[in-house]
């Protein structure tokens, strides 16, 4: 095998000019795919990273049945939430496990009305881990036994035209379809630099939420903060064992519509890249066919020396595969160059912030990643298509009669 590889590698460089052109074509295709992956990766990172930072918690524990109805933020009490907190804190990576009540509602003032998600929190526990609690610009954060007060974002304060100390109407729902509304005083305003998200989330104390929604002593969510992003899956696996009967999710699973959008676009990109690679494949096929004709005598000699037809085929297939591999290498280099540049500059997406719940989390600019997420899969596709394209020329080469090929002019 080593010998064939060496032969194929030498053959590979015999027609430098043509080879370089094919390699450029493969490289461009590969770089285009990496650009796309990097863009999606950056999108993902911005959304999930900001979700963890701003909305809080790398992992959420909910009661069974929550996920299917997540859009409607159902008030499903967790039962024994203290046990969940204990189990979570037993994991070494978990720095905080906080009980919350999370539901949808609406705030209104004379200026207008906005749908919001209302989060009941344990204030003293949130302060060390919550970006929102650490970015109070007016007034103060919530305190444990605050009643009748609400903590809102600057985006919402501006839209409702309210200041600290003024009152707004908050409507949410109790457990049994009746709605609850209450006029509350704005106790503080936070600013995390993302107006759309600030518009969509308000905080009250857990005690207040339990009272408002008739959930005496209970909560609907336990949010876990980890030491680092990236440890989610290990902790989730461990928790699933110690906490059967609960739904344990990270933010990755919490935006089904984003998942759908990314899956559709990813599917389109996959088809697109395969078609591009087929075009490139035609180039490889052309080139190898030409090489077979050029090397007719050589093939005759190899045959006369005793190489079996399938061994001659192997030479050409290896040459095709090498084209794929070198093309991948060139493409990865080009892709890294593009993505690291864009990763520094970022792309402006602020106009699209209010399009959906998840784009609100973009925070204006998207910084593409290096696009290495799907590299093995992309590279494999390239090499497979390169190999497929070399089958036909390889067969042509193998079918030569040694004696005739030797006399070919």
């Amino acid at each position: 095998m080593g010998l064939y590889l060496r032969l194929a590698w030498r053959n590979y460089w015999r027609q430098r000019r043509r080879t370089v052109i094919v390699v450029v074509a493969i490289g461009l295709t590969m770089a285009l795919m990496m650009f796309y992956d990097g863009f999606v990766g950056g999108f993902d990172q911005a959304i999930y990273g900001n979700a963890v930072k701003v909305l809080g918690g790398n992992i959420q524990v909910h009661a069974n049945g929550y996920g299917a109805k997540a859009d409607q933020t159902p008030l499903l009490p967790l039962g024994d939430d203290q046990a969940i907190v204990q189990a979570a804190l037993a994991q070494p990576q978990v720095v905080a496990a906080l009980r919350r009540i999370n539901t949808g509602g609406m705030v209104s003032s004379r200026e207008g009305a906005f749908p919001v998600s209302i989060v009941g929190v344990e204030p003293e526990g949130e302060i060390p881990v919550s970006l929102v609690a650490q970015n109070v610009v007016e007034g103060r954060y919530l305190a444990a036994n605050d009643l009748d007060v609400v903590f809102i974002g600057r985006g919402l304060a501006e839209a409702l035209d309210v200041a600290v100390g003024e009152r707004i109407t908050l409507a949410g729902r109790a457990t049994h379809s009746q709605m609850r509304r209450r006029t509350m005083t704005v106790v503080g305003i936070y600013d995390v630099g993302m107006r759309e998200i600030e518009k969509r989330t308000v905080y009250i104390s857990l005690g207040e939420a339990q009272d408002l929604y008739g959930l005496g002593g209970e909560s609907t969510e336990v949010a876990l903060s980890l030491k680092q992003i990236g440890q989610e899956s290990a902790v989730m696996r461990a928790l699933k064992l110690s906490l059967p009967g609960y739904e344990i999710d990270s933010w990755e699973t919490n935006f089904p519509e984003l998942q759908q959008a990314l899956a559709t676009k990813g599917g389109v990109m996959n088809i697109f890249s395969v078609i591009m690679l087929l075009i490139v494949g035609i180039g490889i096929l052309d080139l190898l066919l030409m090489a077979v004709y050029e090397r007719t005598r050589e093939i005759g000699i190899l045959g006369a020396l005793g190489l079996k037809p399938h061994q001659i085929s192997l030479l050409f297939i290896l040459e095709g595969a090498l084209m794929g591999l070198v093309g991948v290498a060139v493409g990865v280099g080009l892709g890294l160059l593009i993505n690291s540049f864009l990763g520094r500059v970022g792309m402006d997406y602020s106009k699209f912030a209010n399009l959906t719940e998840y784009t609100a989390l973009l925070g204006g600019r998207v910084y593409p990643t290096l696009g290495l997420e799907k590299l093995p899969q992309r590279a494999l596709t390239v090499v497979i298509i390169a190999i497929l394209a070399s089958f036909y020329p390889a067969r042509q080469a193998a079918q030569r009669e040694p004696a005739e090929a030797l006399h070919y002019v």
Binding site: L28, Q72, S108, A171, S177, Q178, M179, R181, I279, L355
Partner: protein, 407 residues
């Protein structure tokens, strides 16, 4: 000239397989681009049409101080006596329909679940409500004097497992900044095939909406559809008054227009990359042809043919390849686009409410896209042929006659 093409044609015929494959590569590239251009154009066109039909109309007349982002219901932000205003606008000949609408925000609660919604008070008999009347999938449409009924989008109804005849609680913001709550019966369920809209919109008769929000004889907007949207500017001029703000469909869909521009810029980048990749295939095929024919080129040169003429010969070859490839691309692309125009692609819900993307995308190939892409493909192929043609033209006759320095 004719002779040049005849030679080029024969030369291409000498290696039919390679010529065919090179043209096929170009054809595949062009077909792919035509399909993509058509899908993007179709998506944008549908989004604009949905928006005009469901959300923005061609024109909206609102009170000066009305802020769309806030859904204010304070009287000073609303249009007083909207039916009269609408009737007056409707007398203009270019106006197809003008109808008052009232917007409020609210929450639908059913059982243990609740969802934030936009509530629109509509004048039920108005022709502008055709998308909802025709899109009814269950139950019946609203009547103007209905005081306890709503229409709900199918996506939302499915999420909450509701059907026509069920009762829900609706919480609505009111003129004085408070909220009010009342039970309503779902009279009917509509589908506009636009999940972003259907999951977030509840309709009720204007009179009831005015009553529950305490807006009394006010509306947020007068929604206007024209007979022809080209007449927008003329109507705006005719309606210009100091007491209202007039918003055109272009202004109200600014985000969509910007999205379209942005995606067009991305698409051009993509077109150039794809065509560059196809061009490499053609360049390679021509380079091979040049080196195969080294001796031949030597003979031609020795007989006194000029370098420029040899270049022209290879250009003729590549333009024939380009024409063949483009023809294949148009046929192949035409087939793909026809399929995608007829059946579309199912994409489901992206959860978008700002831009109304339907659950299916139908392709729409414009003539200008076809022409631009065809010309771009031709130009790029010819530019790519420059290199092999130059290689051929620059050969030294004596060396070439002896087989040259090799490829």
């Amino acid at each position: 000239m004719m002779q040049l093409y005849k030679m080029a044609w024969r030369n291409l015929g000498r290696n039919r397989r390679r010529s065919f494959l090179s043209a096929l590569a170009l054809g595949m590239g062009l077909a792919l681009l035509l399909l993509m251009a058509a899908v993007v154009a179709g998506e944008m066109r549908d989004a604009m049409e949905s928006s005009i039909r469901l959300q923005s109309g061609h024109l909206q007349v609102r009170a000066k101080s009305y802020d769309e982002g806030k859904t204010s219901l304070a009287w000073e932000d609303l249009i007083e006596n909207p039916a009269a205003v609408a009737a007056q606008i409707a007398t203009l000949p270019a106006v197809r329909v003008a109808t008052p609408r009232l917007f409020a925000n609210g929450i639908v609660a059913a059982g243990d679940e609740s969802v934030g919604v936009r509530i629109i008070g509509i004048d039920p008999p108005s022709e502008a409500n055709a998308p909802f009347r025709e899109g009814l999938v269950n139950g019946e449409f609203l009547s103007a004097d209905d005081r306890g009924g709503i229409l709900m989008g199918q996506t939302l109804a499915n999420k909450l497992s509701l059907k026509a005849g069920d009762t829900i609680n609706l919480l609505v913001n009111t003129s004085n900044g408070d909220v009010d709550e009342q039970p309503f019966v779902i009279r009917g369920i509509y589908s506009t095939h636009t999940p972003g809209y259907d999951q977030s919109t509840v309709l009720m008769p204007l009179a009831k909406a005015q009553a529950i929000t305490q807006a009394e004889n006010h509306a947020s907007t007068v929604f206007v559809l024209l007979r022809d949207r080209e007449q927008t500017d003329a109507i705006v001029a005719a309606l210009q008054t100091s007491s209202y703000q007039i918003n055109t469909w272009v202004q109200m869909n600014e985000l969509l227009v910007e999205t379209e521009q942005l995606s067009n810029a991305y698409m051009w980048l993509l077109y150039l990359i794809v065509l560059a990749i196809t061009a490499t295939v053609i360049v390679n095929a021509l380079i091979m042809a040049v080196f195969e024919r080294t001796r031949e080129i030597g003979i031609l040169l020795a007989m006194g043919m000029r370098g420029s003429r040899i270049m022209a010969m290879f250009f003729a070859e590549s333009s024939l390849l380009a024409v063949g490839g483009i023809a294949m691309g148009l046929v192949l692309g035409g087939l793909l686009v026809t399929y995608a125009t007829k059946y579309g692609f199912y994409i489901g819900s992206y959860g978008m409410t700002g831009i109304l993307i339907g659950e299916r995308i139908y392709a729409y190939l414009t003539l200008s896209d076809t022409i631009t892409l065809t010309i771009t493909a031709l130009v790029i192929t010819l530019v790519a042929a420059l290199y092999p043609a130059m290689l051929a033209a620059r050969m030294e006759p004596v060396e070439a006659l002896h087989g040259g320095k090799g490829a």
